[in-house]
């Protein structure tokens, strides 16, 4: 099976993630969509690694996961405090500052 398909899949996932960020209101879900985009990147890395026959891609994937984990830690903390002080996680409520 031609590994290039995985690239298309990666691109698809990335697009879905991006779209999710744009359409979803709930901060948590938006954030999850971002994670989805990151995973799309991972898939791409791995695929390319396979194509090129070197390990770099796979290793980078690990790093990405670590980073993503770190992001989750920070991100959730922020989103939760935000939620607690407003009793809503909708990003559209966050418009105190504009113009």
């Amino acid at each position: 099976m031609n590994p290039v398909y995985y690239l298309y899949l990666a691109a698809l996932l990335f697009t879905i993630g991006a779209a999710g960020v744009l359409v979803r209101k709930n901060a948590i879900i938006v954030f999850m969509c971002v994670e989805l985009m990151l995973n799309a990147c991972n898939l791409a890395f791995v695929t390319f690694s396979r194509l090129h026959g070197n390990l770099d891609g796979q290793i980078i994937a690990f790093f990405t996961m670590v980073v993503a984990a770190a992001e989750v830690v920070v991100g959730l903390a922020i989103i939760v405090t935000f939620f607690r002080s407003r009793h809503s996680a909708s990003v559209d409520d966050a418009d105190l500052m504009k113009l």
């Binding site: 990335f14 993630g17 985009m37 026959g53 070197n54 770099d56 290793i59 922020i78 989103i79």
Partner: protein, 557 residues
């Protein structure tokens, strides 16, 4: 030598497997990485201090640790530069992961100094009125406590302060120091996250107006993550194109640069993927976009005003200054080291970005009513001017940008430091109308702020003018005259709103319920003083620093 090698070696060295003979032991030049290591080490110490020191003594301990650590890091940088690592002995350390060269050291030095000054403003606790017998700084008593909730009250009464900001600051600084030095895309990405995550947190920690602060954090975080996803995908594509994430390398172990200009001898597996320029172009574009986001260039700028406004002002100052320095450093390295081969592809695009950034930044700022937002938009406009310098792909381009960054960052720090002084019952009085007649109330503060504004506006004899002249000159020599003309027009528009503020302060009647100007401790005073000194020195006698930037203006390949 590619990043993976480092990675292998790190792993293996971490868990010393018998396989060690097959994988070469990594060779890390600790001495040359010492600045970064010191900062990150200090940060860790700070964390430990948080863990083990009694609350009362933390503040001073943290402040001391931070200052000492940063000072040490700066000393290390000077030492390295003195050893000629900035020029003759510049090379790529940590097995291709990190460059130790002029721009890297110059920018790291700048960032460390910025951090030092920022640390002072972080530590300022004379401005807020004494709460229940405790001096407090501009950070939340307890970040986790819900605003206005009883437990926040308790925290305040107990005189809690979020001293964690200092370690966070240091971590961010560490990341920022690696960012412009990163010599492969992975390091770039990791360091980006390393300095971004602490910043997200810092944004959320304002003592006053916490809702806005948290909102800023959310926005910054989501958009930041979003953009870093793009960056990462771009990296993936570049990796797919070149089969490596290293910027540079040798013909045998090529970096992206070599692959692009075809000086690399490629494995057949690679040959067909390199044929596909789409990967390269799209990937390059997405990586650049990731960086432009951090720079705050149009159309990736919209987070800037909101975040700048919501974040605690000291943090804003630090972000505005340091993030720009780091991001532009990285951008320069990427464009000058990795992508010069495809200059003809990205230059026109950057032209466009530079123009819209300058013009929109200036124009939108005209109708701002909040000082912090105003400065945010002005920072956008300045990003545009800097891009003009970046576009001139020439040594003078690099040095001019480096110089501009120094000039801009300290003026910015000073500016935001002044903003922290002007306060009323609700904390800082950032609405412009409140600043009316400030010149009558406290001429000194108004005068200082006027100096900063004039520097932003690029009036001669201020650092701002020298910087602007440097970048425009570089651009003009690179044949980007139209860009210069547009830049000039943009700065004319920009001048308008800087002047508006000056008018406000000096020529309009003070409001009866106007804000008071708090008397700062030596900490903030020194921050402001440094700003003024830099403004005037770089404005009147910039030659020394221009030389410095000029010497430091060469990337190692």
């Amino acid at each position: 030598m590619s990043a993976t090698a480092v990675v292998h070696s790190l792993l293996t060295s971490a868990a010393a497997t018998p396989a060690a003979d097959r994988i070469p032991t990594p060779h890390i030049e600790y001495a040359q990485l010492s600045p970064v290591l010191i900062v990150l080490g200090t940060a860790t110490v700070g964390v430990l201090a948080e863990a083990f020191l009694p609350r009362r003594s933390r503040y001073w301990a943290q402040l001391g640790i931070t200052v000492v650590g940063l000072a040490a890091a700066f000393a290390a940088i000077i030492a390295l530069a003195a050893d000629g690592y900035a020029t003759t002995r510049a090379h790529i350390a940590a097995m291709g992961a990190v460059a130790v060269d002029g721009p890297a050291l110059f920018l790291q030095g700048t960032i460390v100094l910025i951090a030092l000054v920022a640390a002072f403003t972080f530590a300022e606790r004379r401005l807020d009125p004494v709460a229940h017998g405790n001096r407090v700084d501009s950070f939340a008593a307890q970040g986790s406590a819900v605003p206005g909730s009883p437990q926040e009250m308790k925290a305040v009464r107990a005189g809690f302060t979020t001293t964690e900001v200092f370690p966070l600051l240091l971590f961010a600084v560490g990341g920022m120091m690696i960012f412009p030095a990163a010599n492969d895309l992975l390091t770039l990405f990791v360091s980006l996250e390393v300095f971004s995550l602490p910043l997200y947190l810092l944004c959320a920690l304002a003592r006053r107006r916490r809702l806005m602060s948290q909102e800023a954090a959310v926005k910054y975080f989501l958009l930041g993550a979003f953009s870093s996803a793009f960056l990462l995908f771009g990296i993936a594509l570049l990796y797919g194109y070149a089969g490596t994430v290293a910027y540079t390398g040798t013909a045998t172990a090529p970096g992206i640069a070599q692959v692009i200009d075809g000086s690399a001898n490629l494995t057949p597996a690679l040959a067909n993927s390199t044929g596909n320029d789409a990967l390269l172009l799209i990937g390059g574009a997405m990586v650049i976009m990731g960086l432009l986001f951090k720079v705050g260039a149009v159309p990736f700028h919209q987070w800037t005003p909101d975040v700048y406004q919501g974040a605690p002002t000291p943090v804003t100052g630090f972000m505005a200054a340091a993030t720009k320095v780091a991001a532009f450093g990285a951008l320069l390295r990427l464009l000058y080291v990795v992508l010069p081969g495809m200059r003809w592809d990205w230059r026109p695009v950057m032209w466009g970005v530079a123009i819209v950034t300058m013009v929109i930044g200036a124009i939108v700022a005209v109708t701002q009513t909040d000082v912090k937002r105003l400065l945010a938009y002005s920072s956008i406009a300045h990003a545009g001017f800097l891009l003009a310098g970046v576009i001139a792909v020439s040594p003078s381009g690099v040095s001019s940008v480096l110089f501009y960054l120094v000039a801009y960052s300290f003026v910015t720090l000073g500016g935001f430091a002044v903003v922290t002084l002007v306060r009323d019952a609700g904390g800082e009085a950032t609405h412009l109308s409140k600043w009316a007649g400030l010149g009558r109330r406290s001429p000194l503060v108004a005068a200082v702020f006027a100096v900063f504004l004039l520097s932003f506006a690029g009036i001669p004899l201020t650092a701002g003018f020298a910087g602007k002249f440097a970048v425009f000159q570089a651009a003009a020599q690179a044949g980007a005259v139209p860009l210069v003309v547009i830049g000039v027009i943009a700065s004319a528009i920009a001048a308008f709103f800087y002047i508006r503020v000056i008018v406000m302060m000096f020529f309009s009647e003070p409001q009866p319920d106007g804000p008071t100007v708090a008397i700062p401790s030596p900490l903030t005073s020194s921050a402001i003083a440094i700003g003024v000194v830099v403004t005037l020195v770089l404005g009147v006698a910039p030659q020394y620093f221009l030389d410095l930037a000029g010497k430091a203006g060469v990337f190692v390949r």
